[in-house]
């Protein structure tokens, strides 16, 4: 749900990182946080377990500058990927404007990726959204590991529409901003449509 405030000339958009547990969603957010100038970001909030697994969400507000005189803010959220946190995932999806699916490229995580995309589709539907229509980007993360599935195989299994697909190594930052940009662009294009 984009929030356009004509009074304060601000526009706020919500972007959610989705995907299987340990896929690297929080790592994406952490990298964005680390590499963004202090003036352009707020505090990063992580509601996590003692072992650093996301429990409810991570949150990072970004202020990217102005478009047509409107201050443009992106609120980035991650969901908890572990299967049993489904109720929390549904809550985080409320009011979403764009989604980044962070897939784990390791061969043994392929089933978890497939499961999670289908879980995303279902949960979106429950909130009245359609994955086919919402701004969406697929990130193939952990490309640095030795046991990764081929990009073609992953595309075949995970792509849902003509979404942008980006390879990434979130732990070193490769592809992190490109992924965010790919989805942010779609969100702003939606706004343009009105």
């Amino acid at each position: 749900m984009t929030f356009i405030n004509y009074a304060s000339r601000e526009i706020n958009c919500k972007i959610v990182y989705y995907g299987p547990g340990l896929g690297g969603k929080t790592t994406n957010l952490q990298y964005v946080y680390d590499k963004t100038a202090p003036s352009a970001k707020g505090k990063m909030i992580s509601l996590a377990t003692e072992t650093d697994r996301t429990l409810f969400f991570d949150f990072l507000p970004l202020e990217l500058g102005s478009v047509r005189g409107f201050k443009t803010r992106f609120h980035l959220y991650t969901v908890p990927g572990q299967v049993f946190y489904d109720a929390s995932r549904k809550l985080i999806l409320k009011g979403v404007d764009g989604i980044i699916f962070v897939a784990d490229s390791q061969v043994e995580r392929m089933d978890a990726n497939i499961e999670s995309v289908s879980n995303l589709e279902q949960n979106l539907k429950l909130q009245g959204y359609d994955l086919m229509k919402i701004p969406y980007t697929l990130q193939l993360n952990k490309r640095d590991l030795p046991n990764v599935a081929s990009v073609d195989d992953m595309k075949r299994e995970l792509m849902r529409k003509g979404e942008p697909v980006l390879e990434a190594v979130a732990s070193t930052g490769i592809g992190v901003f490109d992924t965010l940009k790919a989805v942010a662009k779609q969100v702003l294009i939606e706004l343009k449509k009105g």
Partner: protein, 166 residues
């Protein structure tokens, strides 16, 4: 744009600010804060200096969302009020017009009873305003005026790229 998009216009914004300013004064609160259910701050009044408003907004919305989830689980429609009591400060959270969260932070210069009373009055005033906003959005959407007025209709690829170059 989806039907749930929130748009705030100058006139209603000023009205909201007046209402929460009055609420803060009359309840002796430190801070009054309005957030939409998705965690986006709408307006704030009071001592914001030592407070991270964006974090407050996001955590409040998360808190309300989790509590709503709990309510549904046990067959309640919603828990309309949340109250957290601290050693020094207390936080009173309530829902206005089903979609907006009203947060009041107060210390021992006020009391729960007083806050409750004032929140009730302010809530009904705020409900009027938000209903007006929704009507306005719907009206403009139907008459097609919204598109014309949108500052984003003319957005270019360059505008978008520029956001990411700094």
């Amino acid at each position: 744009m989806t039907t749930s998009d929130m748009i705030m216009y100058e006139e209603e914004y000023q009205r909201i600010k007046t209402i929460i300013t009055k609420l803060r004064t009359e309840s002796n609160a430190k801070l009054v804060f309005l957030v939409d259910k998705n965690g986006q701050q709408i307006a704030a009044q009071g001592d914001l200096e030592n407070l991270d408003a964006t974090s407050l907004a996001s955590l409040t919305a998360g808190n309300v969302a989790a509590t709503d989830g709990l309510a549904k689980l046990i067959g309640e429609k919603e828990f309309s009020i949340l109250f957290h009591e601290g050693e020094r400060d207390n936080i009173h959270i309530s829902i206005v017009a089903q979609r907006v969260i009203l947060v009041v932070i107060f210390d021992n210069r006020s009391s729960l009873g007083l806050v409750r009373l004032r929140v009730k009055k302010a809530s009904s005033e705020l409900t009027d305003v938000f209903e007006r906003v929704v009507k306005k959005i719907n009206h403009e959407r139907e008459s097609g005026r919204l598109d014309v007025e949108s500052p984003f209709a003319e957005i270019t690829d360059d505008d978008i790229d520029n956001l990411f170059t700094n």
